[in-house]
């Protein structure tokens, strides 16, 4: 058959200019730099008060083909490990039960963070002007989708293989009643996707990812391993393999604005607010999960915080940027106070309100109490005595009809919720940075626990209107609220939350009702 003129021409042309059979991906990256995302005007739906420069880079020179191949290998390795070897070894049921409960919180909350980060990275793609920076953000959007799936898969895996799936299978249904959910949404949702685009990048990438993912996603795997959990290291360390590119995106965002002298007007305030916002929640919650949600301790949480947050993030990221006008966050001193005490404060309140959780908590045993006192001198006299008193009052046993929040009320220890961070606090018992202050605005009372959140609220009060569980359910009996908020297992009577990790003596709705516990709003009583 005769060749067409076009085919002949193409064949002749290829003889002269051979098509490449193998190209280094980084050469492709250089070639692709000739393409760009330039528009006549970079119109964005998400403007920023900063001026982002146009020559910033994507440090890993990712192109679509290599990105897809790299991520496919990660997933093949991770899912292959879980679905094959670890399933056969029964790994999903070999961890200490205290840690099994901790992972209900860690995997569910991280999933929400990853989900919101999809939108955050997409917003930054829209705001940035440099083509390479956009490329970095675009890869991050896809990464965050992958991470959302990974966290969901951890819950799916544990739901099938862990002996107590309640809380892994559908945690979100309890989001209205669990006091930890709202604070988590403040850092993981509002912090990432509300407000100025660059401020969101500082929250998400420069603080959330470059600082707190190291304890949350890396250090957590040490605790997991120590407590017999082989699932979490396989998944979380794989999630973190994408985070380094996100940290680089955050760094390039700073590079993109550093040339503009006007940036110095805002950057240090935004950095301090972001640092305080993220630490206010992560510091107590991670510390509580690690130390109170494990049997075998790796090291005191305050040391983990000192290494990853203070020395490495503070020194290597923020300290190095000092000559470009980036200052040490003024809230650091208060954050260090929190790193030492806030997780103990939070455990006391979380345990007092255990029926509202989607996970089980357990009191530290004698050996653990000695560990706490050795590492946090003064712990026993302040916290240990209260926990032992609760134990003596039978808080673990349903026949006691005793919920620890009743002890706090009876002894005049009111529990408030900080309007900005949504973190519960008890001013009369807290050893972390917590002093009560109350403002009235729009005929509503608002409680605050620290200077930094109070300042943020005074600047933008309309941004922080979320109601606390105490305001929402004031006057309501607690079992009624727990049933309404889906805190009950599939049998229709046993609570998801429990004050111990034993197999027997599980609290039911009836047991909780017998305690006669009623929610009260501390701002109105």
């Amino acid at each position: 058959m005769a060749l067409s003129a076009a085919t002949t021409a193409a064949t002749e042309a290829l003889k002269v200019n051979r098509a490449p059979t193998g190209v280094n991906p980084q050469e492709v990256h250089r070639w692709m730099q000739s393409f760009n995302w330039d528009f006549a005007k970079n119109r964005t739906k998400y403007p920023t008060k900063y001026h982002m420069a146009n020559d910033t880079k994507e440090q890993f020179k990712i192109i679509a083909k290599e990105y897809a191949r790299m991520e496919a290998i990660k997933d093949e390795r991770q899912f292959g490990t879980l679905l094959d070897g670890l399933s056969r070894l029964g790994a999903g049921n070999r961890m200490h039960p205290k840690w099994g409960e901790t992972m209900k919180v860690a995997s569910n909350f991280l999933e929400v963070g990853e989900y919101n980060a999809i939108a955050a990275a997409a917003m930054l793609w829209d705001s940035a002007t440099a083509s390479e920076q956009k490329n970095g953000y675009l890869a991050q959007v896809m990464d965050e989708i992958r991470h959302t799936h990974q966290c969901a898969f951890i819950n799916h895996f544990y739901s099938k293989h862990y002996h107590d799936p309640a809380g892994h299978n559908d945690a979100r249904r309890t989001r209205a009643i669990g006091p930890l959910w709202k604070g988590m949404k403040r850092v993981f949702a509002d912090g990432f996707i509300s407000g100025d685009a660059v401020e969101c990048s500082v929250n998400l990438q420069l603080v959330g990812e470059a600082c707190f993912t190291n304890p949350l996603i890396v250090a957590v795997t040490e605790w997991a391993s120590a407590n017999g959990d082989e699932i979490t290291p396989s998944v979380f360390l794989s999630i973190e393999t994408d985070e380094l590119r996100h940290m680089a995106n955050g760094y390039q965002t700073v590079v993109s604005i550093a040339h503009d002298p006007a940036s110095s007007k805002y950057l240090n305030t935004d950095l301090n607010n972001a640092f305080w916002t993220q630490q206010k929640y992560f510091t107590p919650v991670l510390g509580m999960l690690f130390e109170y949600g494990s049997k075998y301790k790796v090291e005191p949480w305050v040391k983990t915080w000192n290494r990853w947050v203070y020395e490495d993030w503070g020194g290597i990221w923020i300290g190095r940027l000092g000559k470009f006008g980036v200052q040490s966050p003024p809230s650091l001193k208060d954050a260090k106070q929190d790193a030492y005490w806030a997780h103990h404060d939070l455990f006391l309140l979380a345990y007092a309100l255990w029926p509202t959780g989607f996970f089980r908590l357990a009191l530290p045993d004698e050996e653990e109490m000695q560990w706490f006192e050795a590492n946090y001198p003064g712990w026993y006299d302040h916290y240990g005595k209260i926990l032992n008193e609760w134990r003596a009052l039978g808080c673990e046993d349903p026949s006691s009809k005793f919920i620890p929040i009743q002890w706090l009320e009876k002894n005049g220890h009111k529990v408030y919720v900080d309007r900005v961070s949504q973190v519960p606090f008890c001013p009369s018992l807290a050893k972390s940075t917590n002093t009560l202050r109350i403002h009235e605005y729009n005929n509503q009372l608002h409680s605050f626990s620290d200077d930094w959140g109070e300042r943020m609220w005074l600047t933008e009060p309309e941004r922080y209107e979320c109601q606390s569980v105490f305001e929402q359910y004031a006057g309501r009996e607690i079992s009624e609220v727990v049933v309404e908020g889906h805190g009950v297992r599939a049998d229709g009577k046993t609570l998801i939350g429990q004050p111990h990790v034993r197999g027997d003596k599980l609290w039911t709705v009836e047991d909780l009702r017998a305690a006669g516990c009623v929610f009260s709003d501390p701002l109105r009583n």
Binding site: E240, L244, F324
Partner: protein, 136 residues
């Protein structure tokens, strides 16, 4: 114990001694550091690269490199810079192994990390501010 060890300095202390240093006035602001931290997921290839490249040739070029086994990951801290040449790794492993294969198991970086050709670099330099980011 070297100054880049996981439990160096204040981290060696316990109880009140730790608290005294943690809350000392001079430690209420960040201190600039020229260190870098690299977290590598443990795997067949990474274990070999750590053993044969980072702890041998890498340490010859940069004696400050410290490597610690933290169960699921290698925690590596050094002053200034670490480079991993994946062409060299490929030869050693006896299979195709590009810088993107290496990135499959790079779990975290504290410092500025980038790729250049088939090399992975993590540095304390401020690329784009102090120095221009190298391109191929």
């Amino acid at each position: 114990m070297t100054k880049n060890a996981y439990n160096y300095g204040i981290m060696e202390k316990t109880g009140k001694a730790f608290a005294d240093e943690f809350f000392a006035e001079e430690n209420q602001v960040v201190h600039e550091s020229n260190a870098i931290v690299l977290v590598l997921m443990q795997s067949d290839e990474i274990d070999t690269i750590v053993e044969e490249m980072i702890l041998k040739e890498g340490k010859k070029h940069n004696p400050s490199i410290t490597v610690e086994d933290r169960s699921g990951f290698w925690w590596i801290k050094a002053d200034n810079k670490i480079e991993v040449d994946c062409a060299e790794a490929s030869e050693m492993l006896g299979k195709t192994y590009s810088v993107y294969d290496f990135l499959v198991n790079v779990s975290s970086t504290i410092g500025r990390a980038y790729t250049i050709g088939d090399k992975f670099v993590i540095t304390s330099e401020l690329m784009g501010l102090d120095v221009k980011l190298k391109d191929i």
